[in-house]
């Protein structure tokens, strides 16, 4: 199972470019646009893995 990376970036272009490069390196990528979404996403991920 590949490592999972949460990308927090409000610029859609940048997020897409970063995601593309990380995916090419074999990571699973999730993109969110702000801090609140990042916290809830990270919380949901932690709950699902515990």
């Amino acid at each position: 199972m590949s490592a999972r990376i949460l990308v927090v970036e409000d610029e859609q272009h940048l997020a897409e470019g970063i995601s593309e490069n990380l995916q090419q390196e074999g990571y699973a990528v999730e993109i969110v646009g702000d801090g609140e979404s990042a916290l809830s996403s990270a919380g949901a991920q932690a709950a699902s893995t515990s």
């Binding site: 409000d10 610029e11 272009h13 940048l14 897409e16 470019g17 593309e20 490069n21 090419q24």
Partner: protein, 290 residues
């Protein structure tokens, strides 16, 4: 005399009247001088407060300028650099390559717009910006605006945009409406910004009145911020936690250009998250008015 039992003071009637007249004159003088000094004090305080307020406004503009321009320069540059390196290192398939190039073109357009806006503000402030009024095609101009609005990506901040045109001028409206007085509106999304009759905004102006159009956007602000939104570098909320790109120059430039055309622009919003409405009024051509 108190403290001197057996002694008294006698003043001649003429002298007493003279002293009383002197006393009244002194009271009048002190009242006049006191009022004058009070007025000077109040005026000075008001001037100092206005000066402090202006100074604070300049400091806010400077801080907003630095913050917004830094962000608006850095983000597109970082994006362009990222895509150049991605194209160099990853050799993506053609469809991704095309998308990356389109992203880079969008970033270059964004930088170009920023520089043009700053130059326009500099020319406006120095009085070197002069609008040359010429006859135009209202239908074509509105079609351009509708097309530009359709290109704005929709998200939580920009869920929809409507453009309404109101005109008493039959010739200008023949492209959209055959009646002499009508309102025609476009709403996006859906992606095709086709004219619709959903907006029933009655025209109340005289036949020789100004043509008007209005753009409603989902962006919004507290009611007291409506007038300030036209100030240079003014943006609602905290500069460090922006959800939208921009420098706070667009509405300032719009107001100044519309003023130079002899028109006016107003903005109002019922509150944060409830949308906002901009009304632009422009004078008709003299031949159209005739």
């Amino acid at each position: 005399v108190p403290g001197y039992p057996g002694y008294g003071v006698t003043i001649r009637p003429g002298r007493l009247e003279h002293l009383q007249a002197q006393r009244r004159a002194s009271i009048r003088m002190f009242a006049a001088e006191g009022t004058t000094f009070l007025c000077i004090l109040v005026a000075g305080t008001v001037l100092i407060l206005r000066s402090v307020r202006r100074e604070m406004e300049l400091m806010r503009q400077q801080a907003n300028f630095l913050s917004a321009v830094t962000h608006e320069l850095k983000s597109p540059l970082a994006s362009i650099r990222l895509f150049i390196e991605t194209l160099e290192l990853r050799d993506p398939p053609p469809e991704k390559r095309a998308r990356f190039l389109a992203n880079m073109r969008g970033d270059v357009d964004r930088l170009d717009g920023l520089v043009n806006n700053i130059l326009a503000v500099a020319r406006l402030d120095s009085g070197r910006f002069v609008v040359h009024v010429d006859r135009g095609d209202l239908g074509r101009d509105v079609a351009d605006v509708v097309e530009a609005l359709g290109k704005i990506p929709r998200n939580a901040v920009w869920p929809s945009i409507s453009l309404c045109l109101l005109s008493p001028c039959s010739r200008a409206m023949t492209w959209a409406c055959s009646r002499p007085c009508c309102a025609t509106c476009w709403t996006t999304p859906p992606s095709t910004a086709a004219p619709s009759s959903r907006c029933t905004w009655p025209w109340r102006g005289r036949a020789t009145g100004p043509s008007s159009k209005s753009v409603t956007r989902a962006l919004a602000w507290p009611p007291r911020s409506a007038r300030r939104s036209f100030q240079k570098f003014y943006r609602v909320g905290e500069e460090m936690v922006r959800q939208t790109e921009g420098t706070g120059l667009g509405l300032y430039l719009a107001r100044e250009l519309i003023r130079q055309l002899g028109g006016s622009i107003t903005a109002d919003s019922p509150g944060v998250g409830k949308g906002s409405t901009f009304r632009v009024s422009l004078p008709l051509d003299r031949e159209e008015q005739a």
